[in-house]
Amino acid sequence: MSRRSVEFSVSAAERLNDSLNAFLEIDREGALRRAEEVEKSGASGGLAGIPIAVKDNICVRGMQTSCGSRILGDYRPPYNATVIERLLNAGAVIIGKTNCDEFAMGSSNENSAFGPVRNPWDTTRVPGGSSGGSATAVAAGIVPVALGSDTGGSVRQPASLCGVLGLKPTYGRNSRYGLVAFASSLDQVGVFARETEDLARVLGVIAGRDPHDSTTADVPVPDYTAALDGDLKGARIGFPQTLFGKGLDEEVGTAVKSVVDVYRELGAEIVNVELPNAGYAIAVYYIIATAEASSNLARFDGVRYGFRAEDAPELRQMYRKTRQEGFGAEVKRRIMLGTYVLSAGYYDAYYRKAQQVRTLIKNDFLKAFENCDAIITPTSPTPAFALGEKVDDPLAMYLNDIYTVTANLAGIPGLSVPCGLSSARLPIGFQLLGPYWSEPTLLKLGHGYLQARPFTDRPPVYA
C-alpha cells in the first residue's frame, strides 16, 4: 500500500514539474526504498507510508537544502530537522524538496533562484509564497501533506491562493531545529493539507518540546484529531469589521463574510472585535523580520558550506563577493533594510519602536480573545495575482501579508481554510486566528466549516 501511494506521488511530482516547478529535488529512489522498508516492517506509526513533500529550507539528511538560493545550491545537510526526525519515526516518506522564495522571503515564489512555482489553478499566476512549492504540491494532488515555514504568512497565504488548508502553529509549538533561520522570533514550521484530519495527524506528530530548540515550550501535545467533532454550538467567533475595508478585493470580502453567515448557521456566536493596531503590522514586521534576517544570514559567507565566489584573494573581499553573487535581489534588499534599521543612530527610532508596537499588537489580540475563541479574517487581500505583476514594487508585494503577519508578531496560531472560487476560478481562503495553543479550536472550526461547505473543486492541473 505505502509503496503504491509513494510511487503515485513521485510519478505525479515528476510529471507535473515541467508545468508547475514545485519541486527542486524529487528523490524517487530513496522514497521508494523507504516505502518498501516501511511496508516490510509492518510499521503502524501514525503516518506509515504517507508521502510528504518538504520545503527546501527544512533539513532532510542527504537531500538538498538550497532555501531557493544559489548561495546554498545543492547543500546537503548532515542531519535531520527535528520535525523531519519525528515524521520519519511515524513512518512518513519524504518524496522531495519543494521550491520556495529565497530564504523564505517573498509572497509570490518569484524570488526563488530556481524559477517561480506556478499556480495549478492558472499557471500564469503565482502560487503565493514563500512556501509556494509545498502549497502547489498539495493543491495539485501530488501529496496529501507538505511542510512549509511561516514567518509572516508563508504557509497561510500560499494555502489560500492554492485552495488548500495551511496551519501556522503557536510560536514554540514546533521545533525550529533544522529549519534554516530567517527571523527567529517569528519563524514556525507549518503544515499544508487538503483534509483537516491529515493536518491534525501531522501536527500531532511534529509538535512538542525539543531540547535542540530552546524556544519550544513545555506544553502537552493534545490529540488534535479529537477536536474534529463538528460541534460548533456556542463557539464565539470574533469579527474585526475594520479589517474588511480598504485594499480588500470585493469578491474575497464577500466570500469571507458569507463564511461568517455559515458559522452563525452552525450555531456559533459572532462577536465584534477591535484590533486597533493591526494596520501597523506590516511596518512592524518589515523592521523586525529584516533586522533578524540581516543577523541570521550573516552566516552565509562562503566558509563552512555552500557557494564561494572565485577570484577573491582576500578574506573580506571573498565574503562580499560570495554574498553579492550568491544572494538574490530581495534577500539583499532585506539584509540592507535590516542592517539599516539596526545601525548606529537608528536602532531606537526603528527597531525598538517596532518592538514596542509589537507589544501593542500582541495586547490587542489578548484583549480580543477575552470575548471570543477565534477571530476570522481573509487570509490574503486578493486571489492569486499574475506572475510578474508585483515584482518591481517590493512594498506592494509586502502588503499581501497584511492579514497574516499579525499572528507571527503575536506568536498566536493561524489557519487558512479554502472557502470557494472567485469568478476567475481562483481559490479564496479565510483565516482563523486563536489564542496561544488553540490549535484544537482552529482545527475544530475549520473542520466544522468544511463539513458544512466542502471544498471539492480541483485545479485543472491535478494528479
Binding site: 517569528l186 519550544t216 584573494p313 582576500e314 573580506r316 544572494f327 534588499r333 540592507m336 514596542q356 508578531l409
Partner: protein, 98 residues
C-alpha cells in the same frame, strides 16, 4: 532625512555586500519607500510600552531550557567539513586575512 547612494553604500559595506552600480541605483528609491512606509509607526505614542523581545509565549518563558553540562556526541570533523567549499587538513581554509 533623505537616504542617499552614499548611505546605501555604507550599509552594504556593513552587511558585507558588494553592490553593483545598478543595484545601488535601484535600492535607493526602494529602501527610501519602505523606510518612509515604516515611519508611520511614529504616529503611535509608545513612551510607556515595553518592547516585545523575542517571540516566546508565557508558557515558553516558563519552560526551563537548561540541561546537565555533559558532553554529547557531535558530527565529527569529517562530516562537518564535508560541505565546505575549501576544506584542508581538518580545517576550513579561507583566503588570506591580512
Amino acid at each position: 532625512m533623505p537616504i542617499t547612494e552614499a548611505d546605501i553604500a555604507k550599509v552594504a559595506q556593513l552587511a558585507h555586500l558588494e553592490l553593483g552600480d545598478e543595484e545601488l541605483k535601484t535600492f535607493v528609491p526602494q529602501i527610501t519607500g519602505i523606510v518612509n512606509y515604516v515611519e508611520q509607526l511614529n504616529e503611535l505614542d509608545t513612551a510607556n510600552v515595553e518592547p516585545a523581545i523575542g517571540g516566546l509565549t508565557p508558557e515558553g518563558e516558563k519552560t526551563d531550557s537548561s540541561r546537565p553540562d555533559e558532553a554529547a556526541g557531535s558530527l565529527g570533523q569529517k562530516v562537518a567539513l564535508a560541505e565546505a567549499p575549501d576544506p584542508a587538513s581538518g580545517h576550513f581554509r579561507v583566503p588570506k586575512v591580512l
